[in-house]
Symmetry: C2
Subunit: 195 residues, 2 copies
């Protein structure tokens, strides 16, 4: 099984690791398991990527690049910024196993890094610059990160919870994210002035 071994290099190890996590979840990412997947001895992986932490960093960075393809929609600057921000959330949720892995490893911010550029462009197009632009960007990232963590909460395998059920049960997390994002976008991005 597995691909016909062309040569094996750093990038192929990272790609296979991502594939493994997508297929079998974050817990399946084991150096030995990954080695088996590549038909290779375990130390080989260390030779190519250094360590498990470095591997995860490389994986998240790659995933970050892959997420940057979603088109930004909307007519007004506020709508476009909101769209770009929601794209961060939607993309990360779509590959939830990789996002979960990033969260567990404290690499959530790294996952959003390449997407920040898209968002930044929209913010500048909306007329923001300097500190105002950075503040807006950071605020939006706070909301996206929080929304991701709370959405993937039950992806963790912890015991159930009583009261949280009443607060989050049947809650539309996409709508919550949009609404929260709208609040901070409206706060930072100027809207249409009535002529």
């Amino acid at each position: 099984m597995g691909k016909t071994a062309t040569k094996l290099g750093h990038d192929e190890v990272v790609a296979t690791a991502l594939d493994l996590v997508v297929r079998e979840g974050p817990d399946a990412l084991t150096m030995r398991r990954l080695a088996t997947e590549l038909d290779v001895g375990t130390p080989t992986i260390y030779w190519h990527v250094g360590s498990r932490d470095e591997l995860i960093t490389a994986m998240v960075r790659t995933q970050s690049r892959r997420l940057a393809d979603r088109p930004v929609t909307g007519g007004t600057p506020r709508e476009r910024v909101l769209s770009a921000a929601f794209n961060l959330y939607a993309g990360a949720i779509e590959h939830r196993s990789v996002t979960s892995l990033a969260n567990q490893s404290g690499a959530s911010s790294l996952l959003l890094q390449d997407l920040e550029a898209v968002l930044l462009a929209e913010l500048e197009a909306a007329g923001l610059a300097g500190d105002a632009c950075g503040d807006a960007l950071r605020s939006i990232l706070v909301v996206v990160t929080g929304a991701l963590v709370l959405t993937l909460r039950d992806y963790a395998h912890l015991p159930e919870d009583d009261r949280a059920a009443t607060l989050w049960a049947g809650c539309d997390l996409e709508a919550l994210t949009t609404e929260t994002l709208r609040a901070v976008v409206h706060h930072h991005v100027p809207g249409e002035e009535p002529t």
Copy 2:
């Protein structure tokens, strides 16, 4: 060493585990290490708390209760809600090792659970009810969770990052959190009407 063994029960195991994490960080929490700390065989811990996940759940729940003491300040409803919300953030940051453990385990929302009651009371005092109240509460929790994750980002031991440095270097995370919270609080909580 250690306390004179009174009896050893579920709560003492949890308390000792919390103490260990506060003193030596999240990674020090090992069943064997905890057993040593309690002068007890490893299986004894399993007898009292069931498993590592159940232990962490109990720890986070206890920590959640301990965080609920901060006083709410402010004159207007908006100020009081903002104060209560920021208290969630400040309390969790003050015990960052426990918060980090909760994040890694996907129990962040559990950590904030007891604090939600305080926040809920302020929201209701501000005149919110029903869905509007729940929406406001959930939005605020999104922001607090995101702020926590981004603040504790470097608590993880992942390799450094280049561009993120320019975006987050020298950034006042408390101010960012306050500002982002203000945006969603203003969005949800009605302000003073000019008479």
